[in-house]
């Protein structure tokens, strides 16, 4: 019974990473089982990291690439949240509005955000505008759908009680619908942040002048495994930091809910 509530021992993680690091060193450096054209050794990876951090690679330094990617993600994500959340709330608050808009969303929804990349490129070219468009799109549909289901998940008696007490419409929105929908809205935003990041990396892999996806693209053209590892690591670390940041905001915005 206590099984499922026990915490994982910390030693497991430490042991895993130590063993993995040793195996990595042995296979690439000592025995050379994995050639340097396939995967990089720890020393090569460290050198690649130093190279991109200080001298720069693919036309910019690591910090600039990260900043460029993060800027685009935040721009598209914020635009999607600003348009999508109110639209979803409106769909939740009005059955008629929902019946009017929902079928169109059902039509568009099965098309994954990545499939919009070629269309965005045809329309807007390879610059930042196309990236912001696809990121916007990746976040927009989940933002709308989760805000809308968030309103729908509110217990009807709460809304009816508020109406019975003569609460005006704007106040109902502010005091009942928005707080009630917030947990689901944040779930949606968290999911879509992940989708945005994936979409951006894909977009930059296809064509860009800067950004982490561009680093990956350049490194795979140069057959430079060490730089690919550095690029993948940067993608992962940046995604992790953004997710943590959003959960921090979530805890501030919904203090009444225990995560």
């Amino acid at each position: 019974m206590t099984r499922s509530h026990e915490r994982r021992p910390v030693w497991g993680g430490v042991v895993t990473f130590v063993v993995l690091a040793v195996a990595w060193y042995m296979l690439t450096t000592l025995t050379n089982t994995i050639g340097s054209g396939r995967f990089s050794s720890p020393a090569e990876t460290w050198d690649a990291l130093r190279q991109i951090a200080f001298a720069g690679y693919a036309d910019a330094r690591l910090a600039e690439h990260i900043l460029h990617s993060v800027k685009l993600v935040l721009l598209g994500f914020a635009a999607a949240a600003i348009v999508g959340v109110p639209l979803g709330l409106a769909m939740g608050a009005s059955r008629g509005f929902e019946a009017f808009l929902n079928p169109t969303f059902l039509l568009i929804r099965p098309i994954p955000p990545l499939a919009w990349i070629p269309l965005a490129i045809v329309w807007l070219g390879l610059g930042d505008a196309a990236k912001v468009l696809i990121i916007w799109f990746a976040a927009f549909v989940p933002a709308v759908i989760n805000s809308y289901s968030g309103v729908r998940s509110i217990e009807p008696y709460l809304i009816e009680a508020a109406r019975m007490l003569g609460v005006p419409r704007a106040m109902l929105m502010r005091e009942v619908l928005i707080p009630g929908a917030l947990p689901m809205i944040f779930t949606g935003l968290r999911l879509s942040l992940q989708a945005c990041w994936t979409t951006l990396v894909a977009g930059e892999l296809i064509g860009a002048i800067a950004g982490l996806g561009h680093v990956l693209y350049q490194a795979s053209l140069d057959i430079f495994p060490a730089m690919i590892v550095v690029g993948m690591g940067s993608v992962a670390v940046t995604a992790a930091v953004m997710t943590v940041g959003l959960s921090w905001i979530e805890r501030r915005a919904i203090p009444w809910r225990q995560a």
Binding site: G12, F17, R95, A99, L114, I159, L216, I228
Partner: protein, 264 residues
Amino acid sequence: MTAFAITRELSWQRRFVLSVAGIAAFFGVWWAAAASGLVAPQFLPTPLAVLEKFVALTQTTFVGYTLQQHLASSFGRFALGFGLAAAIGVPLGLLMGWFRGLDAIVSPLFDALRFVAPIAWVPFAALWFGTGIGGPVLVIFSGSFPPCVINAYRGARYVEPRFVEAAQTLGASHWRIITEVLLPASVPSIVAGLRVSAGLGWQSLVGAELIVASSGIGYLLVRGQANISTAIVMSGMIAIGIVGFAIDALLRRMERYISRRRGL
């Protein structure tokens, strides 16, 4: 009066009329924008032109294959990547749910790798397995693997302790507990995971094919984009949407069937 509309269902007639009006408005705006001549037809074709292109693509070849052949080669890659992810991920998740040591070793690694977007595997996929079938399959695998593991793991961890204790009291071996207690009890969770996993896998496939492939539906999109033919790109997007929807509908049916059989 209006705010009560939040909690009250619309009559189906009103709902139907509004839905039709909504779809009509969507296509109407699209058609008006395209037909007005403000946007060149190669950037925004009319809905009808896209439909014509879609039909034409199923009959004549584009970049070597018809639309169905592109879809078939995409689907083959998807089935391979998704099948591998399920075949490795589900047993791994169950084992992690049962053996604490394995859990302690694998979970941290898994948590670290989860943050690498599947698409970021593309360079290594191309380097290690080429652009034929191996490369895209690795990318699909990395997209669909995590939900398989996580859901099998959760299913195994949250099995009623009574069942496990009963099996242990009766002297069942590890193998029998995993296959005859944990696996059946986790089936709903596993199927739910497979659905998520198929969705992510299909998306990753599209991404992988946009970058590394010489056939498939993603490749069709890229070539359409290179030819600046929005009609081809849109036809490809529609095909992707239809197949993705069909995969999801199939797994949803399976999910419902299983929960009905279990009387849930």
